[in-house]
Symmetry: C2
Subunit: 132 residues, 2 copies
């Protein structure tokens, strides 16, 4: 498997954990030795692993946790760090996401997630890759 | 100078180029060999260096180019890649930014900029570090 494919697989695992409210898988996906951060839409940045995981506990255990579709993934590789850009379709609109992965113990683990609203002006053909 | 200080200096240079509409400095700051991407607020991602620089040409040469203040920078180091989280105060509101830098020829160069709106609920003390 190429680095690009492995990073894409890790990114899909993130959206699978999100879509299925799998808190344990979400925790396993985030880096343990590298620093981590998370910028949920409209929030200020969380930069402490405990605070990041607590935010995901709250989101994934909420009855109002959004349905999510991820599409249009693009991977940028920087050696042992990688960036996945993708769009997220939620009940409340479309978000653009930047997900940073770092290589730890041969695994690509999530070090940063930043999602923010997209103001889309044109109708576009979309290629969903993860549904719930 | 530590890596953290050098990354912070590169981040300040980004906001200096933005604030002073210095298109040449903005171009010099962006990585040349690494892949680059940019997610302006509300836009879909740009992942081509020419498209990224064209977007900055448009923003910086516009008479409506916003005034900008950067504050609350935090640096996460991943070897030869670094993430700066910071907030941006513009005429139109507050944005949270994720800026990825990569080391090229001993310089930290910008590989990705993602800014999105913050919905702030509490009054906070802010520490501006760059004004125009």
């Amino acid at each position: 498997m190429t680095d690009k494919d492995a990073v894409l697989a890790a990114n899909l695992e993130f959206y699978r954990a999100f879509a299925t409210r799998d808190i344990a898988a979400m925790d396993a996906l985030w880096a343990r030795r590298s620093p981590v951060a998370c910028l949920h839409p409209g929030w200020s940045a969380l930069t402490d692993r405990e605070a990041v995981m607590s935010s995901w506990d709250g989101i994934l255990s909420s009855p109002n946790s959004p349905r999510i579709v991820c599409y249009d993934e693009r991977v940028l590789l920087f050696g042992n760090t990688a960036l996945v850009l993708c769009e997220e379709e939620l009940d409340g609109g479309t978000l653009a996401a930047s997900n940073i992965f770092v290589r730890e113990d041969g695994e690509w683990r999530l070090a940063h997630h930043h999602a923010g609203q997209v103001v889309r002006r044109q109708a576009e053909q979309r290629r969903p890759t993860r549904l719930n």
